[in-house]
C-alpha cells in the first residue's frame, strides 16, 4: 500500500514541478547530486593501514581489475578502475575489512595512466633468510600470528608460539627443505637448528 502512495505522490508531483533532476544539485550547496540511492556501489577504497596484502581480493576479482605486482622489496596491490565492475566481491572477501565501497561514482578521466583511475596500496615484503626470494608481506605474517594467538587453546599456546618463531623468516619451500629433519635415533621429526 505504501508503495502505491509513493507512486501516486510521484505522479502528482510531476504535474506541479519539472521532473528533471538538477545537476549539480540545487538542494543544498554541500550536496552535489539531487539523488543518490541507498546502497549504491561506487568506487572501492582501500584502507592502507588495514590492508595486509593477503591477495584475497585478487583471487575473487571477477573483472581481472585487481592485480598484484611484486618487486624486490615492495608488494603493490592495485585496483584498475577501468576494468572494475563494482561488484563488491573484494569487500566481501577481505578478511581485514580494508576495502569499502564508497558512494563516489564520477571518475571520468582523460588518460589511461591517470592516478585517480587506480586504487594502490604498497606493502613491505619479507625476504627468505636462505634463498632471498620475497615470500609474504610483513603485515600478513604479523597478523597471522596475532590471529593464531587469539584462537588457540591456552595449554598449547607457548609451544605453538615457539614453533611459529622457529620457522619465521623462511619461505615455504626452504621451510620444507631445511626446517624439518628425521632423527634416526629417536625415530621422530625434529626441527633442525640453524636452518
Amino acid at each position: 500500500m505504501s508503495t502505491e502512495i509513493k507512486i501516486l505522490k510521484q505522479v502528482l508531483s510531476n504535474y506541479s514541478k519539472p521532473m528533471t533532476l538538477n545537476y549539480p544539485s540545487a538542494v543544498s550547496p554541500d550536496r552535489k547530486y539531487s539523488q543518490i540511492p541507498a546502497g549504491l556501489r561506487g568506487i572501492p577504497e582501500r584502507d592502507n593501514d588495514k590492508c595486509i596484502g593477503c591477495r584475497a581480493c585478487y583471487f575473487v576479482c571477477s573483472g581481472r581489475a585487481t592485480s598484484i605486482y611484486d618487486s624486490d622489496a615492495k608488494r603493490k596491490v592495485e585496483i584498475f578502475l577501468f576494468r572494475c565492475t563494482f561488484c563488491a566481491h573484494c569487500q566481501e572477501a577481505c578478511p581485514e575489512e580494508a576495502i569499502k565501497m564508497t558512494d563516489k561514482f564520477e571518475i571520468a578521466v582523460a588518460k589511461r595512466e591517470d592516478p585517480s583511475a587506480r586504487v594502490v596500496t604498497e606493502l613491505d615484503l619479507l625476504k627468505c633468510k636462505i634463498c632471498g626470494t620475497p615470500y609474504a608481506s610483513k603485515k600478513f605474517v604479523d597478523r597471522a600470528y596475532e590471529r593464531l594467538m587469539e584462537k588457540i587453546d591456552q595449554k598449547v599456546k607457548e609451544t605453538v608460539s615457539s614453533d611459529f618463531k622457529k620457522v619465521d623468516g623462511y619461505c615455504p619451500d626452504c621451510r620444507r627443505a631445511n626446517g624439518v629433519g628425521f632423527d634416526t635415533h629417536t625415530k621422530k621429526h625434529v626441527w633442525l637448528e640453524g636452518a
Binding site: M19, L21, R64, F105, I107, A108
Partner: protein, 149 residues
C-alpha cells in the same frame, strides 16, 4: 574562435555508437539523454548519423567482426571530434579482458583502434557520471577547435 566553433561548443551533437556488450551502458546513456537527467539542457542532442556529430559516444567492448565499422564511423565524424568511452568495457575491456591467450572473438577497448579522449568507468556508470564525462568532452572539443585555427 569563429562563430561556428562557438556555436559548436554550446550545442555539440552526439552520436551513440554501441560496439557490443550487454546494453546496460546504453540504457544509462539513454536515461542521461531523457528528461529525468536531461543532457539536452547543455545543448547536447542525439543525432542519427555520425556525419552530423561532434561527439562520438561509444559503449561496450569491440568484437573482432565490428572493427571495420568502428574505424569507418570514426572517420565519418567531421573534425574537430571527441570520443567519449562509456562503461568499463569501453575503458579497459572489463570482463572480456584477457592477457594471454587473447580472446578469440573480442578485441577489447575501442582505444586500440581510435583515439579516445574521455573515459567514463563504471558498470554501468550512473547518468550523472555520463553527463560529467560528456561535459569534459565538450571542454576538450573547445580545446581542439581553438587549436585548429
Amino acid at each position: 574562435m569563429g562563430i561556428i566553433d562557438k556555436a559548436r561548443i554550446y550545442s555539440p551533437w552526439l552520436y551513440h555508437l554501441h560496439c557490443g556488450g550487454c546494453n546496460g551502458c546504453d540504457i544509462e546513456t539513454l536515461a542521461a539523454l531523457a528528461p529525468r537527467f536531461d543532457v539536452e539542457r547543455f545543448g547536447i542532442q542525439l543525432v542519427p548519423s555520425p556525419r552530423h556529430a561532434d561527439i562520438l559516444l561509444t559503449t561496450g567492448c569491440v568484437p573482432k567482426q565490428f572493427i571495420p565499422m568502428v574505424k569507418r564511423i570514426y572517420e565519418q565524424v567531421p573534425d574537430p571530434k571527441v570520443v567519449v568511452a562509456v562503461g568499463s568495457c569501453a575503458c579497459g575491456g572489463s570482463l572480456f579482458y584477457d592477457d594471454a591467450p587473447e580472446n578469440y572473438a573480442i578485441l577489447g577497448s575501442p582505444d586500440l583502434l581510435i583515439p579516445v579522449d574521455v573515459y567514463v568507468p563504471g558498470c554501468a556508470p550512473k547518468p550523472e557520471a555520463i553527463i560529467n564525462g560528456v561535459v569534459q568532452g565538450i571542454l576538450k572539443l573547445a580545446e581542439k577547435a581553438s587549436k585548429k585555427e
